[in-house]
Amino acid sequence: MAEPALSIRGLTKVYGNGFHALKGIDLDVAEGDFYALLGPNGAGKSTTLGVVCSLVQKTAGQVSIFGIDIDRDFARAKYHLGVVPQEFNFNQFEKVIDIVLAQAGYYGMSRREALPRAEELLRDLGLWDKRNGSARMLSGGMKRRLMIARALMHRPRLLILDEPTAGVDIELRRSMWEYMRRINRDEGTTIILTTHYLEEAESLCRNVGIINHGEIIRNTSVRDLLAELDTETFLLDLAHPIEAAPEVAGFEVSRVDAAQLAVVVHRGQRLNDVFEALSAQGLEVMSMRNRANRLEEMFVSMVEQGNSDKAAAEAAEARA
């Protein structure tokens, strides 16, 4: 059986101030996977990836990249790894071409080998025309693409993207998605991404891990996760304003504002029943949409459940 692209066992990180960022997490990401690591701010996503990339020192646990234990031969493991961090981390005063060529040099790639690779990547990512300009003159989206080009210079088998499309406009985000899909599909690059845009994870990823309070609370496929979703909330725009939410038997209906209702529909319930009930009460629905994307609803409910469990555990501990 092929070694997983990333294998994490019992990973623990305690910062100097005593904060337990990671509480012994286990995680496997198969080769060729497109994997999303989700979690609220401060959950431990970036710390996990920071350990994998050697930017954060772990307190305990084991991390292997394609079967190479980072404690034994981190240098060899790093050859397989490309990293696109959350924050811009290049010298803003350097030229675009110099940034990608320097990165290739750090991996021991000769200039003769690096130049065509740099041209290929910068062209693919729409930065070739900017190659001789200073990096600080690039737009935010271009800077993100520059970090992707830089991370791919040495042809890594595992690409880690920490919120790669944060602050990027919709059109550019879609083109970056397409590029990531392409390298995952055509080059077999395993991709792990963290994101706050759950639509991104739903659209791109096959598997997903949800981390909260330094623990992996779910690790499954996106399809299975969505199959578990048993409620969806729809927003209905009404033709005429209302004073109070109407009663609809079997459904939770609430008034968002004078012209909008929120209806919670459980698995197996018929949306037609809602429309019929509203029509019977003389209410006309003009349009309808999901309150959030499906994965987002699932994510929010899991995180909220995790938070309330933690609060309960802390309260019990305080009582003891």
Binding site: Y15, G50, C53, S54, L55, V56, Q57, F74, A75, R76, K78, Y79, L81, V83, P85, E87, F88, N89, F90, N91, Q92, D98, L101, A102, Q103, G105, Y106, Y107, G108, M109, S110, R150
Partner: protein, 257 residues
Amino acid sequence: MNPTQIAIALWTLVHKEVKRFTRIWPQTLLPPSITMTMYFIIFGNLIGSRIGEMDGYSYMDFIVPGLIMMAVITNTYSNVASSFFSNKFQRSIEEMMVSPMPNWVILTGFVLGGMARGLGVGLIVTGVSLFFTRLEVAHPFLTVFVVVLTAALFAIGGFINALLGKKFDDISIVPTFVLTPLTYLGGVFYSISLLPAFWQGVSMLNPILYMVNVFRYGFLGVSDIPVGWALAAILAFITVLFAVALWMLEHGKGIRS
């Protein structure tokens, strides 16, 4: 990494460092040249002509080696300290940390980059000094050897300073409050034989005195202290500081959370 890959990585880093300080030459190469020219004019020419001889040489000839060494020390130190700290500050150090480049290559790359600037400035200052005096070098090999060692030592010092620094102020404290006073009191402008016995003893605790004196010995053939001891001390300092800097890098001090 195999030896060829290591050589490429090291060359990449050194090339990048040299490109950095040459790109901003009005901030890195020009100011020390102007400052040292002022020293030559004011101390060497105007005041020096009234001082007369020092250790049997004209005052200008006496201060030239010390001023060259002062330029090398301050520029080497500040180049590595500011460059590495900027990399930390902008987080571009992460480019190197995620790569398979060994830590000793990172350290050596920054040290060589800093030495390139320090020795480059030293050459410029030497060139400027030729407008004021006719330089003769009594021991050329020793002169080059000691200035290269000194540059290496202070480059490593600047690296450690940058590793420990948390804000930009932290990398200017050592040059301002430690290096400059030690350099001025290190026999750049006077022979310690002029000092009372007590202050001669105190001066012997100043490591920069040894470097300045050995360097001056290379030019003039005269020194206040034994040359062999001085070289041994410099080599010992380099070894210890390199080991300390490497240990700090390996343990992520100042760069890993």
